[in-house]
Amino acid sequence: MSHDNSQVYRTSSSRVGKMMIIMLGICIVGGVIFFSMWDYWISTPAPVVAMMAGGDDHTAPAAHTGDTITQVLHFIESPDFRTLAFNALPGDPDNNPTVNMNVGDKVIFNVDNAGKSFHSFGVTSEDEGFGGVIPGTEVAFASNPLKPGEGGSSEFIAGEEGIYYYICTVPGHRDQGMVGQIIVGDVAAPEPVVEAAPIMEMPAPGVIDVEETIVEPTTEPIVEAAPEPVEFNGVISLPQGSGTPGCDETNSCYIPFNVSVSAGEEITWSNDDSAAHTVTSGTPADGSDGNFDSGLFMAGGTFSVTLDESGEYPYYCMVHPWMTGNITVN
C-alpha cells in the first residue's frame, strides 16, 4: 500500500504454532464436550409436544397388589409402510393383542422394534391421538425413538377400571394401526379400535387384500354414508377447524361435503377457516387428477369452478389430506 511506510514485520513459525495450538485446543475441548453429550442434545422433546398431548392431570402410579402379566410386543410394518401394527398385521389373530387385567395387576411390556421405521411405546387412557401417556409406561420417546432392532421394557399398573390403550407414541402411527387395548376390570368391550385407522389411510393398489378389514370406511364409503346433498346453495364452506384432523369423522371438512349440481352450474368454496386450504380434484391417495385446483387460498378467500361434464368429482385439500369432498354433476 503506497501510503503505508511502516516497517515490515513477518509472521514467524512460533507465532503460527501458538495460533494453531490455540485453535486445536478449542477444537479438542469442544469436541470432548460435544461427543460426550452426543445423545443428551437430542433428549428433550419441544415443550409444545407436551401441551398438544394434553395436561398432566393423571393420577399417581397405582400400587401393585395383584398379578404380574408379561406381554411381548413387536412393532411391525406392512411392506409399503401404510399399515402399522403390533405383533401381526390386521387380519391375523395375533394382531394388536388385547390385554385383560384387573385393578392392581401389573403388566410388563417387553417391546422391540422389528420394523424398519422408528417407534416408541406408551400406554394412554385417551381414545385418540398420541397424548396422555401415563408416566412410567414409556419405552423411548417420539423425539428419540427406538431404532430398528432396539427394544426395551416398561410397566403399567392399572389404578382404576376402564379401557386403556397401548400405542406407538410417534405421531400418526396410532392412526395407522399401532394401537391395542388394555381392558382393566369388567368393562364392556368398546367398538374395535381399528376404526381409528382409516383417518390417515391412503391405500395403494395391491395392498387392499391385507387391509380389507380397515380400509372400508375410506373416501368412497363415506360418500355413501350420507348421500343426500345438504342444503346446497352454490357455496361450499370450509368451516373453522377443518385444518385439524377429526372433521372427517363427521364429514364436516367441506360443508356440505357431497353436492349434486347440474352441468354448467357454478360452485364456490368459501374458506371460513383460519388456515389456508386448497380445493383440488382427485383423492388424497391418488393425488390430483387435474380437473380443477384452487391452489392455496387464504382464510376468507373463495374459489369457484364450473363443471360442464357430468360425473363424479371427488376433491380434497392438498395441505390437509383428511379433508375430502365430492361433487356429482348431472
Binding site: M19, W41, A46, V48, M52, G243
Partner: protein, 508 residues
C-alpha cells in the same frame, strides 16, 4: 504492507484488539477453521452415499444432523465471516480511513460468532438449515433445536452489526476527495451486500422468534395443529435467504474485481457498470424469494411474477461476467494462483447461472424441485463461485497478511484438483437430480444409474478433500516458513496496487 503486525505483540493483544486488521485476522482464522470442520462433514455425507444402505453413519437421524450442521456451518460460519474478514482488511484502506467507523462494534460483531458456532456445533440439530416446520416445532428434539435457533439469532445480530459498520464506513468515512463513484468495486460489493442484510435479516429474525415460541407452545404460527401455516415460514425464511445468496455472492464477485484487473495488468473494463450491476442485483434479489416455493400451491400469477423477478437477476450477473472477460481481453495476464481461482470461479459462475435459469423457469422447476439438481445447483454457486472467489482472494491477501509467500506450485495443484473435483461432484448431482434422486436422503434404492453417479460424485468430493489438505498444509507451512514476500509487489506483476481513483499502475 503487513496487516497483521503493526508491531510484534503477544497473540492475546490481537485477540482483544479492535483494530480492523486484527478483527479481520480473527474473522479469517475462525472462518477457515469452520471451513475445514464443515468440509469434513461434507466428506462424511458423500462417503455415506457412496453405496446404498447404511455404511459409516449409524442412522438417518445422525445423517440429518450432519447435513444440517454442514450447511449451517459453511454458510454462516465460513462464507459470511470470510467476507467480513476481507471487508475488515480492505474496506477502510480502500476508502482511506484509519479504521472501521465503529471499532468496538466491529469487535463485538466478531465475538458473537464463536458462541453462536459453539451453540450450533454442540447441539447438532437435525431439522436442516431451513429448520423445516412443523417438524422443527413438534418433533425436532431439544435442546439441540433450541440451541440452533439461538445460534442463528446471534449470527443474525452479528451480521446486522457488521453491515451497519460497513455502510457507515463507506458512506460517511470515505476520504473527502473520493466520490462515491470512485470507491473501488470491492468496497462497493460490501456496501450493496450490507444494504441487503439490513433489509433482509429482520424477517428471519422474526421467523426465528416465532419458531421458538411455537416450540414453547405459547404460539402456533407454523403449527398446523394449532391453526398455523408452515407455508408462512417458507415465505419469511426465503424472503431473507434468497437475498442472502446475493449477500454471499456479491463480496465474492467484488474479490474477483480486485484480482482480475491486477493480474490482467489492465484497469477494470467498466467501473460504473460494475457498480450498477451490484446495485441492480441487490434490488432484484428481493423480487424472487418465492421461486423456492413453486410446488406449494401458489397461483399461476404468483409463480409468473416470481419467475420474472428471478430472471431479472440474469442481466446483472451477466454484466459482471462481461466485465471480467472484457477486462482480461488483450491484457497481459499472469496466471498466478489467485488469478486461476478467479477465472475458474467465473467459469463455474456462468455454469451455475445457466442451471439457475432452468430452475427459475416454473415449468422446469417441477421436474427439479427437491431433487439433487437443486443440491448441485446451489453447491455449484456456493463452492464454484463463492468459495473459489474467496479462496483465490485468500491466496491474494496471504503475503499482505503474513509477510510471506505461499508455495505457488501447491497453490496451483490445489486449484486444479478443486476445480476438477467441483465439476465432477456438482455437475453429476445435476444429472442425478434429473434421474429423480430426491435430496436429503440417507439411503437410496440400488438403481444402477444412481449408484454410478453417486460414486462419481463421492470420488469428486474426495479429490476436493485431498486438495483442501494440501491447502491447509501450504497455509500453515508458508505462514511460518515461507519465503519472505516483497510486500510492494508480491506477485511480480509490476506496479503497485491498482486503484481506479489512483491510476498509479506504471504497467500501462
Amino acid at each position: 504492507m503487513v496487516l497483521e503486525l503493526q508491531k510484534p505483540r503477544p497473540i492475546w493483544q490481537i485477540m482483544f484488539s479492535t483494530h480492523h486488521t486484527d478483527v479481520g485476522l480473527l474473522y479469517l482464522i475462525t472462518s477457515l477453521a469452520f471451513l475445514f470442520l464443515g468440509g469434513s462433514l461434507a466428506l462424511a455425507i458423500r462417503a455415506e452415499l457412496f453405496l446404498p444402505g447404511s455404511q459409516i453413519i449409524a442412522d438417518s437421524m445422525t445423517f440429518n444432523r450432519i447435513f444440517t450442521v454442514h450447511g449451517t456451518t459453511l454458510i454462516f460460519l465460513f462464507i459470511l465471516p470470510f467476507a467480513s474478514s476481507v471487508g475488515n482488511y480492505f474496506v477502510p484502506i480502500m476508502v482511506r480511513y484509519k479504521d472501521m467507523a465503529y471499532p468496538k462494534l466491529n469487535a463485538i460483531a466478531f465475538w458473537m460468532i464463536p458462541p453462536a458456532g459453539a451453540l450450533i456445533w454442540l447441539g447438532f440439530a437435525d431439522f436442516t438449515w431451513y429448520a423445516t416446520p412443523p417438524y422443527s416445532i413438534i418433533s425436532a428434539p431439544g435442546p439441540a433445536a433450541d440451541m440452533w435457533i439461538f445460534g442463528l439469532k446471534i449470527l443474525g445480530i452479528s451480521s446486522v452489526l457488521g453491515a451497519i459498520n460497513f455502510i457507515v464506513t463507506i458512506l460517511k468515512c470515505k476520504h473527502p476527495d473520493m466520490s462515491i463513484g470512485q470507491v473501488p468495486l470491492l468496497a462497493w460489493s460490501f456496501l450493496s451486500s450490507s444494504l441487503i442484510i439490513l433489509v433482509a435479516i429482520p424477517t428471519f429474525a422474526a421467523a426465528l422468534l416465532m419458531l421458538l415460541t411455537d416450540r414453547l407452545g405459547v404460539s402456533g404460527f407454523f403449527n398446523p395443529a394449532m391453526g398455523g401455516d408452515p407455508i408462512a415460514y417458507a415465505h419469511l425464511f426465503w424472503f431473507t435467504f434468497h437475498p442472502e445468496v446475493y449477500v454471499l455472492v456479491i463480496p465474492a464477485i467484488g474479490m474477483m474485481y480486485e484480482i482480475i484487473p491486477r493480474f490482467s495488468r489492465k484497469p477494470i473494463y467498466s467501473h460504473n457498470s460494475g457498480i450498477f450491476a451490484f446495485v441492480l442485483l441487490s434490488i432484484v434479489g428481493f423480487s424472487s424469494w418465492a421461486h423456492h416455493m413453486y410446488a406449494t400451491g401458489m397461483s399461476f400469477t404468483e409463480k409468473t411474477v416470481f419467475m420474472v423477478g428471478t430472471l431479472a437477476a440474469v442481466p446483472a450477473s451477466a454484466m459482471h461476467v462481461f466485465n471480467f472477460i472484457a477486462t482480461m481481453w488483450n491484457g497481459r495476464i499472469k496466471f498466478s494462483t489467485p488469478m486461476m481461482w478467479a477465472v475458474g470461479g467465473i467459469a463455474l459462475f456462468f455454469s451455475a447461472g445457466a442451471g439457475g435459469v432452468a430452475n427459475a423457469a416454473m415449468p422446469l422447476d417441477f421436474t427439479t424441485h427437491d431433487t439433487y439438481w437443486v443440491v448441485g445447483h446451489f453447491h455449484l454457486f456456493v463452492m464454484g463461485t463463492i468459495a473459489f472467489g474467496s479462496i483465490g482472494f485468500l491466496y491474494y491477501m496471504f503475503p499482505y497478511v503474513t509477510g510471506r509467500m505461499y508455495n505457488e506450485t501447491l497453490g496451483k495443484v490445489h486449484f486444479v484438483m478443486s476445480f476438477v473435483g467441483t465439476v465432477i461432484v456438482f455437475f453429476t448431482q445435476h444429472v442425478l437430480g434429473l434421474y429423480g434422486m430426491p435430496r436429503r436422503i440417507f439411503d437410496y434404492p440400488p438403481i444402477p444409474e444412481w449408484i454410478a453417479m453417486n460414486q462419481i460424485a463421492t470420488v469428486g468430493a474426495m479429490i476436493i478433500g485431498v486438495s483442501m489438505v494440501i491447502f491447509l498444509a501450504n497455509m500453515i507451512y508458508s505462514s511460518g516458513k515461507g519465503k519472505l514476500a516483497n510486500t510492494e509487489d508480491p506477485f511480480g506483476v509490476g506496479g503497485k496496487y491498482y486503484y481506479p481513483f489512483e491510476a498509479k499502475n506504471p504497467s500501462h
